[in-house]
């Protein structure tokens, strides 16, 4: 597969993502910068974590107005696979490729810790190597990760299987104690109606090697190339 890793001014997980795709997955990967106007010939486009344009105005909004932002929309509308991690997730909501918005964490602190997540939908190209209902562990690192969407849309997302990952405890229980940032419905990751665009706040690219104490992040990447 041929991957693109999007680089905006302020992206800071771009090299980690590139490393995982090239060195751990053994796939072809290129960086594309924010002035890129077309995304041709790629099998998957990844928006990595970071602080694009310093999170000014709102996290992700300035990145969404770049030529690359337009190119991502065009690519996604043709059915291309798009994965947004953390700031990449924020950018995808600002591009309206994913519903809702990510707001300041409820407790106003930047969170950098491990969380447990329940895989609610394993039928996506991004999650097919997980079991449905499986509890996985990934790190989070964000200040604006509180997912919000109006109630009606939440219901239709739920019915359409668009809620992909939810924060849970070690046993898979969804409750407020396991919700790190106050996200609506404990939501940590969602997809679009068609299932080709996926955004999540946790960082799978940081959880790919036993050396780092994780094994669950790499499963997501293996799902993509399976």
């Amino acid at each position: 597969m041929k991957f693109a890793v999007c680089v905006f001014p302020g992206s800071n997980c771009d090299y980690d993502t590139y490393y995982v795709i090239r060195d751990l997955l053994g796939q072809d990967v290129s960086f594309v910068d924010h002035n890129t106007k077309r995304l041709n010939g790629f099998d998957c486009v990844v928006l990595p974590g970071g602080f694009s344009f310093g999170d000014y105005l709102r996290a992700g909004v300035l990145a969404s107005k770049t030529p690359l932002g337009n190119a991502i929309v065009e690519y996604a509308q043709k059915g291309g696979l798009v994965l947004g991690i953390c700031n990449g997730f924020q950018i995808l909501t600002e591009l309206h490729l994913l519903p809702g918005v990510l707001l300041r964490n409820e407790n106003l602190t930047f969170l950098c810790k491990d969380v447990y997540l329940r895989v609610e939908n394993n039928s996506l190209p991004f999650t097919r190597r997980f079991e449905k209902g499986e509890v996985i562990k990934l790190p989070i690192a964000h200040g604006e990760g509180r997912y919000y969407v109006p109630e009606e849309e939440l219901r239709s997302m739920e019915e359409g299987g668009q809620i992909v990952l939810r924060y849970c405890d070690e046993k898979g229980n969804i409750n407020s104690q396991a919700n790190p940032n106050g996200s609506l419905y404990n939501i940590a990751g969602i997809c679009n109606k068609e299932g080709n665009v996926f955004g999540l706040m946790p960082h799978p690219e940081r959880a790919c090697e036993d050396l780092l104490g994780y094994r669950d992040g790499i499963i997501l990447w293996h799902s993509l190339v399976a």
Binding site: V61, V101, L103, N105, E106, N107, L108, V149, G182
Partner: protein
Amino acid sequence: MKVRVLILPKRGLLDPEGRAVKEMLLDGGFDVKDVKVGKVVELEVGEGTDIKALVEKYLVNPLVEEYVIE
């Protein structure tokens, strides 16, 4: 033409920043009913600029924010 846009979180939405400021003020002994923290964007634009389009397309997220143009 100078324009000032006041952007505030929508009513009814949790505004943790406003809540934190309110709690601080209450602790300081002030009788404060509510606090919302937003932002101000000052623009200098050419005559005939469609300010509403500019604001709604770029400056606010209508899901969670409301605005006033001065």
